[in-house]
Point group: D2
Chain length 367, copies 4
């Protein structure tokens, strides 16, 4: 299928450009009977909304979700849930030079190469606003996961080179600082670094980490649709992500097998692991431990500093991107990572229900 649909049983199709009339998503395959209101979705959208603090664009958007189908008397009916978010503060006039120029680090050139031309207003479909549909759908996926006892929590692990060591994580602080970091004092340091970036007409990247608890063992399909393969795709499909790790990730490549293997042990009839270097996934299938994944987010390419580039007529020129841009998108990417993880998990959880004949027989017994 074409590129704007994600998932096999729980599928989402997103649509919309930065400066079009609206942005939205259609969720198909959502099980019937889930309580769902616009509030459930709004609380997720609010976490990625612009204008929340000094490090996010001043663009004013209320990003209000409307559910247009798929619910009846407050519950999902099993039919497609269509969610629409109107674009409000579009200021098309801002985008003069971008019309004919290829911004470094942006998709301007590659869209032209692919389609022959592009909607240049605010990046069009390649704008960060494209993630609104993901987040709205992710809110529904997360609510389903909660019904199954599964929790997905993402947070900022590092900004630039300021990284919180694992032993200094305080999860309760994640919502206490504007950067969604699990350590307020590191968040403070990161804020100072970001202010220096802004003064410098520069920008910063960072890493987002995501932890899943309550995940049953046995989820994921062997070979191409491994749980980690699908999560890697999910995270790498977010605009600025350039790297993905599961568990120890690249560090595992340096460790000896004796240190990297997680020993099993049995305790009170439960299967446990002494360590979790694997990040909760073995052979592409969940092992019942917490799932731990990480995404590297590149620095915002839009910077006010002058950069060399070319026009779409292949003439050399320079560009300084003024206007409303986040010096760092990592904190706003946190909820997008959470959404993409939730969407991936619910799809694989649904697909797993027919892995054993006994389960299929039990389901249809007496029907």
């Amino acid at each position: 299928m074409a590129g704007s649909t994600y998932g096999t049983l729980f599928t989402i199709t997103t649509w919309g450009e930065s400066h079009g009339a609206a942005i939205g998503v259609v969720i198909d395959g959502c099980p019937a009977g889930l309580s769902l209101s616009e509030k459930d979705i709004q609380s997720y959208l609010n976490r990625r909304k612009p204008g929340q603090n000094k490090f996010t664009t001043k663009r004013k958007e209320s990003d209000r979700a409307e559910i247009l189908s798929g619910t009846f008397e407050g519950k999902t009916t099993g039919t497609p849930v269509s969610i629409l978010i109107k674009n409000e503060d579009q200021r098309s006039k801002d985008y003069g030079k971008i019309k004919d120029c290829y911004r470094p680090g942006h998709a301007d050139y590659t869209f032209d190469a692919k389609y022959g031309f592009r909607d240049y207003r605010g990046g069009g479909r390649s704008s960060g606003r494209e993630t609104i549909g993901r987040v709205a759908a992710g809110a529904v996926a997360a609510k389903l996961l909660k019904e199954l006892g599964i929790t997905v929590t993402a947070y900022t692990r590092s900004i630039g080179s300021i990284r919180i060591p694992y032993k200094e994580y305080h999860y309760e602080e994640i919502t206490e600082n504007p950067l969604y970091m699990p350590n307020n004092s590191y968040a403070e340091k990161a804020s100072e670094y970001l202010e220096a970036c802004m003064k410098n007409l520069d920008s910063s990247g960072g890493t987002v980490e995501c932890m899943v608890t309550g995940m049953p063992a046995g989820i994921g399909e062997p070979v191409f649709q491994k749980l980690d393969a699908e999560l890697a795709k999910a995270l790498m499909s977010i605009g600025a992500v350039k790297g993905v790790e599961i568990g120890d990730g690249f560090k595992a490549a340096e460790a000896p097998g004796s240190a990297n293997n997680d020993s099993f042990f049995s305790k009170n009839g439960n299967i446990c692991k002494k360590t979790n270097h694997s990040g909760g996934i073995l052979g592409g299938i969940s092992d019942g431990s917490p799932i731990l994944i990480r995404a590297a987010v590149k620095p915002t390419p839009s910077i006010a500093r002058e950069q060399q580039t070319i026009t779409n007529q292949k003439e050399n020129t320079t560009i300084a991107i003024t206007g409303r841009h986040d010096p760092v998108i990592v904190p706003r990417a946190v909820v997008v990572v959470e959404a993409m993880t939730a969407l991936t998990l619910i799809d694989l959880l649904m697909r797993n229900t027919t892995s054993q004949l006994e389960n299929l027989k039990a389901f249809y017994q007496g029907k």
Copy 2:
């Protein structure tokens, strides 16, 4: 679709277990008219075959490819190409204890959790032999890419902590050492490290890098099927891979925007970039520069050292995995990375042919 099929237009379906009768792959959607013989496939399979040097398992397998369908008079016909490789040296007797035990770092437990039981002989479907089908199909994909002027080259970038600095790459040396490293003297150091691992009854991981040249700009679908998202899935779907990077990857997360952006310039009517931090992909679409991706491979979990674990009856026990196991799988993973990259590229190249109405019209004009 279920987990053993990969691709949208150029699809492959792999099948087979380590100790079954055979292993194979069906390629569907291969364009008609490609010259193809078993030799084309064998040269790829030989690169992942066991027994090539002291760091690979002593299992004796000739891994001979047979093409059973889809070619006629030496050319592909457009119908499915079925390739079969018989399993030969199966020695099922080796697998006594593994029958009832969960090996740390392996998929034994997770397969049981998913399916209720498993084919424990040599890891069954979760064995490294599962990659044979990928490599056989990758050989066909690579041959198609070559017809389009595109080359895919993978190699070992690091073994344990022995990593070749970028300025010391000598690509011509890749095939001169058994580790497929682009620097013979680093390969020597890595060999010494691996011998120490073996003496120590331990194992090692490493990283594989893959470079694509000749790639046209404009390939990849925006949003969920970005070129980098699909590559991340492709690589992470390989058994032991725990991390994936595109271009600068995790290093990009620490760099400022001014350093990470690649400036465009025009030269002789061509669009060029001064640097390639992006790894040849912008907004999920190829930008015409070389594509650079990297995969972190964990150390082989099978080690002769005694490890704590449990039985499938949840009793604590210990296990030492003797038998024929690679102390490092990185060199054999090189061709698997190359295959998965080639398979991903050909699929997206084929999908891209209808991105513009003008191209579609030109194709059907006069038909």
Copy 3:
């Protein structure tokens, strides 16, 4: 993927219920560069709109299409085209008894069996209004086909047992009568029959035929995605369709091979057929002759006559369905058949561009 998405490269995802806020469709994979305005879509929607004549429901709906994304300066950009149609005249009060009863011939019971409950207002997702999204997307597909020189024309072949013999077809009369029949005098007879049905508190079915001209040879994928297999699915997926035929259809089953085979002959360098019993498809692939398909449409199940049925508590009862219902839906189904045919053709035309290596090479030459 879930049930509301159709197509592989040119995919559409429909959403919406009869009495929800709106109904819509997202088209993904539409090639960039097609001139497209709301007028293009409106002219198709108007053909299925209620209230056009005495045989269609009096429900008042303007069914006005709004394009919310995917076009820029009047042309498609290659990104998803989201089309929304607001529901207006909903009159929920009409649906009292239907809430707890299963209407014979309707999907009330089966939706309850599947989902546990249903949006009973106007049939919810199983309402004929569900086809609005198909028709809107079909208008886009038809416009693309026109650019390739392909025309899709559907019409009413029969109402009840009033069927136009092939030699009495006058295609130019299709738009001259409210039943879209290619013969005005048969249309007159059919009108009389329908008025009798209405007086009788009864309803009628009929058949819709669809002809495709300008189709190049070679379109369709062998085996499961044959052109005729996909067309059969496309037409049978329309609510009231109970049978589908290609070419001579069921009559072919009675003919001897010598009569049913279409002889080839060559004329002015063109490959021609003396007859077209095959309906333009051989081995699941178009043969360059006109494609001819037919769909049997059952009589509208909503009739004012009293019928026996049960409540959702399994109590026997009776029901007479008053309110606004078409005594025949065949004329309104004509444009739906046309839409589904166009959607199926454009998808297979797009997929066919990579069937030969030579074409793929020509496409990428010099890129």
Copy 4:
């Protein structure tokens, strides 16, 4: 995905040409724990094997199934089941003239139009032998259905114009005559007609009907993946099928609503229908009544009589197709219809398990 794969959760991928080394199928997504041996598959293959009686080709093929993967100790493991059937009696020498000529009613021309050339030996991929993979996979699907209490039975309803009236069906006679007709004396008449056809150097078509009992209500996805839409595709994807009907099919188009609607009634707490004009499907979802579908099979295009045609150089010529050809393929198509129906049902039954949140919660409770 490309054209040789069928299904979403229970997927099959077939491969192989008439005169290649072998023919086969890979089943992916089969639930673990099904007892499966080669005998289960062989009994289905034997029903479509050539040489069973005077109306089938004299080609000698034992069509012996080998299971190469996916089972362990007699049970499916959840991993792909690869089944291979070697081609034996290939006699390539028979196919001299066909090499350069387009046989009327065959796919010779359309394959050339699509792929530029073709494997002309015995029709290559467009041969009836392509259905072997379907039948082998259908045997597995049928065994799964049996575990769920569902039975699929196909039979010949008519040969040429000799059709058994519904009230003269004797199901127990289906296996008592070589034509698989549920009435031995009609089978006798049909045999006489077929002998006349053969003497006449001509061939015959017919219709195959398929009945499904034990089907639970609620199966099928609304909108595009309706149960009847998927069945229509399944049957129309069989080489010679030119029409498909559900329940009353084309007759429904002539009936008034009052006669076509099936009244519900309640009996001993069960939901029943007085009639079954709908063929067990309402709104694309099973209603718990027997499913009834019908396929029109065209007459075998290969006839010994001289026919006009052209060469691949567009020269007019004639052809008489001697060699080993069935005068009617209907009896051998019976098991193919049964297989395609079973494959379609198991896939939709598996997909339905997540239609309600309550079911999903129950499944994961305590895991």
